[in-house]
Symmetry: C2
């Protein structure tokens, strides 16, 4: 599976379109992922219309690939369809809770990764938009998502117009535990993060931001405590509004 | 990617072991999945010891593959390692909240699906244990998971000793929406679920359980409202205990 081993995120795309037939066949294959009780607790929204992309660009913090990619695919945790089926069949659904949201989010994220793998195997490039759960309320309004539906991932898709370096990864010995979790000592942490901290580009980030070290790039600039807490409260409110917080 | 298209869950395995080198190389490739800010917010616990499998069988509702598979791999959302790094570097981490849990769970689930795809491409069979988030507190104790670590998926892995039929899937027109979510009418729901309801095995389930229809198999037997609500409360408590509910 060289396509997984050699993959990298692609943020620049050629103007070549991604045909609907291809996209649908990749999604259909992706739906072969494991799913809780074969309930398929997800829906997929395909965005091609430029006016819709411009609307979606706002919750996605105006990342340029949202409007420049031919297609954006938003994967949603969906207990609405299943609940409607239950109600039509005189069955009493009970999926308006956090556990059910996690079950549906899990289903949706497994399909998301399958779709990304299949797209890349077909020569497409993808970018995972982590912003999807930062502003879920806006995405819900734009995509008209009803109760019991939550966006959990969005992927920009197109034919690659760049070939960036593969990013670093932590040593696998820092991630894999045998039999039980062996919590990290300070020496372990130093060893796990040494290579990342030594990279020229990371040293450059630290220098131009006039801070002490790479960890502070994350805590002071990219993923700040105060922002996380505001967005976390929004996520909780949105889960409640979507009916997942009985 | 025939391995994705033709996949099916495997619950019976031969006695052939899965070598550590193979497992580690599959995991290393799986870690190429998209990850929030390249933070790699996951850890993986590999279970091979029979005494450990027997302990894990309890939270996994004694599903037989938990003790009969050569390996169980538990994927965890992990903000512990990253937080420890920040603390060692005089950086102020703020990842003890629901949003950060979802970010880490997303990272972990993308890696999980990548791992499953790679395992299947190498001739292994897998079963996704949805029970992982039903009894997370027990799994946390057994695997010794510290604060800011939550199990989100567990996979049994081995060489297939069965070749079951591929299960049905809903028609893709019932899952994919263009531009906006078009909520389902009763006619849509009937059309989407007709094929599933028509399957002989599903009719048989309904008959032997002496209930009205397939939807009631889900609501009255497999995924009941009262069970979901108890487990949902446990999930919330466990997230709080693991430090994700500031």
């Amino acid at each position: 599976m060289e396509c997984i081993k050699n993959r990298r995120t692609i943020r620049k795309y050629t103007t070549q379109d991604v045909p609907s037939d291809l996209l649908n066949s990749l999604l259909e294959e992706a739906f072969r992922a494991s799913t809780m009780g074969n309930m398929q607790l997800y829906s997929v929204i395909v965005t091609r219309d430029m006016a819709m992309k411009e609307k979606l660009a706002v919750p996605h913090f105006h990342q340029p690939m949202v409007t420049s990619a031919p297609v954006i695919v938003t994967f949603c945790a969906d207990f609405n369809r299943f609940t409607k089926w239950c109600e039509l069949r005189n069955a009493n659904p009970g999926y308006d809770n956090l556990l059910s949201f996690m079950n549906a989010a899990t289903d949706a994220l497994l399909v998301t990764q399958n779709f990304c793998t299949l797209a890349e195997a077909h020569g497409l490039g993808i970018c995972f938009l982590g912003t999807t759960i930062y502003n879920p309320d806006q995405i819900i309004r734009i995509l008209n998502l009803p109760k019991l539906v939550m966006p959990v991932a969005a992927i920009t898709v197109g034919y690659p117009d760049e070939n960036p370096e593969q990013p670093d990864r932590l040593p696998i010995s820092g991630i894999i535990h045998n039999e039980q979790y062996h919590d990290y000592t300070s020496a372990d942490i130093n060893s796990i993060y040494t290579y990342k901290e030594s990279l020229a580009e990371n040293k450059h980030f630290v220098e131009i931001n006039k801070i002490e070290n790479l960890a502070q790039i994350f805590t002071d600039i990219r993923y700040r405590k105060e922002d996380n807490e505001v967005m976390s409260d929004l996520l909780k409110r949105t889960l409640k509004e979507q009916g997942f917080d009985r």
